[in-house]
């Protein structure tokens, strides 16, 4: 465990040094993310100028939900995004060999190599949005509730991480995993919606239960707004485990097929 922590710290150091070398890039990308987050919050504000509730959620409850979605996404982007997408390209080009020669679990090495400090910085903004919304709602969560919220957010990050690793691992079979990036962003649109808004059976099965993108944000947000629900939280925790196990399984199966591509 300590061994992996050391490896991760070395990667983090490398990423931060790299960011310091390209300060302009860091600035532009931080701004890009900040802009996109503002676009989402502004949209909520405008919609609530014309309605009282969305599926029973008031304005600030909705801001809290969107903030939670942002928080999970920033963590995912900050810690894993670049590495996972590079993995897809490396599998195709054969540069993936590099990870096989490294002193650690291949999936760990390949998916934690790069950090994006701009996303990590913006996760503070996302957290601020959640805190602001909670204050506007007059919520006063206990320490246990906050810890449970953090745990549920962590489960959300694990689920998103697993879905991404799983989809990119398809590159072992298909060679190219291009286009997944765009489809992933389409999925995140659903994560900003309250679960009760999914009234159709097909959409409920697909987005709420099969692909838990909706639950990933709804469970932590409801935990703060409506209080702890053991069944839902346990379900999210369980599905994080299942998705993670599936990602490990598919990744390792794919790894067996990897034949490198160098000449």
């Amino acid at each position: 465990m300590l061994h992996y922590a050391k490896i991760w710290a070395a990667s983090a150091r490398y990423s931060i040094t790299r960011t310091l070398m390209f300060r302009g890039d860091f600035f532009v990308w931080s701004l890009v993310e900040l802009f996109w987050m503002s676009v989402n919050i502004l949209t909520i504000t405008i919609i609530y100028e014309h309605t009282h509730a969305i599926a029973g959620w008031t304005k600030y409850q909705m801001v809290l939900l969107v903030g939670t979605s942002m928080l999970i996404q920033r963590f995912l982007m900050g810690f894993f995004w670049s590495s996972i997408f590079e993995m897809g390209r490396n599998i195709r080009s054969g540069n993936f060999d590099f990870y096989l020669a490294q002193p650690g679990n291949v999936m760990f090495m390949a998916t934690t190599r790069k950090l994006d400090p701009d996303s990590l910085l913006n996760s503070l903004v996302a957290a601020a949005v959640v805190i602001y919304a909670a204050r506007q709602l007059g919520l006063d969560p206990s320490a246990v509730q906050i810890a449970l919220y953090a745990l549920m957010v962590l489960c959300g990050v694990v689920i998103h991480y697993s879905i991404l690793v799983l989809s990119i691992s398809l590159a072992f079979w298909l060679t190219s995993a291009q286009g997944i990036e765009g489809s992933y962003f389409t999925l995140t649109e659903f994560s900003r919606l309250p679960r009760a808004a999914f009234t159709g059976i097909a959409t409920q099965i697909l987005f709420v239960w099969l692909l838990p993108v909706v639950m990933v944000t709804n469970v932590p947000a409801s935990l703060l707004v409506q209080g702890f629900d053991l069944t839902l939280s346990a379900w999210l925790f369980g599905s994080a485990l299942v998705w993670f196990a599936a990602a490990i399984f598919v990744f390792n199966r794919g790894l067996r097929r990897y034949t490198s591509a160098s000449s």
Binding site: I46, H50, E189, A197
Partner: protein
């Protein structure tokens, strides 16, 4: 005059052929847009239920029709990756060949853009037809063919604005190695002020008045609002045309300046 037209007609035809190759990519992109549409329907249906049964004076069907129109327009007139293509050609030195030939780079690129959008626009109709049984109950287009008469010129000018903005960003490659940051930053602005997140008439009056002066409004929202009957007052439409024409001219001028300034910095290496 005819010779010039013929030259770009050939470019257009070649563009048509090379884009037909990507018909499946466009179709897949179209199918994924249906997911976006699903999210839109879920969100606005819930919002409309929480309000007085409509949004900002328009029914739920009118609101969804607006988003469907936006989706179709997107495939017909919006710039997909033209900025990156231009940037690539500058960075790789591929534009050198155009500097030696009697060809206008803007006109050349625009001809390809028109061909590409014609293909993607026609292809997106396929996934929409698949979704028609579900979408039908949400369709509420105005029964007045004047909307086409007013909407089509606005749509044509929107295409020019869309392309010109992408072209500007592409030309930034004369100065910057990486333009992705700028492009995504402006995409956030376009998404918001072009009316892709919500119809712009839902904005507070003062914000709407500002948005009406910006080019983003004329990139997508203006024709969409005419087509869907959100903008019906002829005075306002003609005012809109005026501002749109002004933006077209301004952007073409900026393009010209960027091109001539950029070329001064450009160094063509190799033969």
């Amino acid at each position: 005059m005819f010779a010039i037209f013929n030259k770009y007609r050939q470019v257009f035809l070649t563009g048509l052929q090379s884009n037909i190759v990507y018909r499946f990519n466009f179709a897949v992109r179209g199918f994924f847009s249906l997911f976006h549409l699903a999210a839109v329907v879920i969100l606005w249906s819930a919002a409309s239920l929480g309000g007085s049964g409509g949004i900002g004076g328009f029914s739920l069907a009118q609101t969804i029709t607006y988003f469907i129109t936006l989706l179709i327009l997107q495939f017909f007139i919006s710039a997909f990756n033209e900025d990156y293509q231009i940037s690539e050609e500058i960075r790789n030195g591929l534009i050198n060949q155009f500097l030696l030939k009697p060809i206008n780079y803007f006109a050349y690129r625009f001809s390809i853009f028109v061909a590409a959008r014609l293909v993607s626009g026609l292809v997106v109709i396929v996934p929409l037809l698949f979704a028609l049984p579900v979408l039908r109950e949400y369709l509420a287009f105005p029964h007045d063919c004047r909307v086409l008469l007013f909407g089509l010129p606005a749509m044509a000018m929107s295409a020019v604005i869309q392309f010109s903005i992408a072209y500007c960003f592409g030309l930034l490659s004369f100065w910057f190695l990486e333009i992705q940051g700028f492009v995504i930053l402006s995409m956030a602005l376009e998404t918001l002020l072009g009316g892709q997140m919500f119809p712009l008439d839902l904005l507070p009056e003062w914000a709407y008045a500002i948005a009406r002066c910006l080019p983003f409004y004329y990139q997508m929202y203006f024709p969409a609002a005419i087509f869907t009957g959100r903008l019906t007052d002829p005075t306002l439409i003609f005012q809109g045309y005026g501002i749109q024409v002004a933006w077209v001219i301004a952007l073409l001028l900026v393009n010209q300046v960027l091109w001539s300034r950029g070329l001064r910095r450009h160094t063509a290496v190799g033969g």
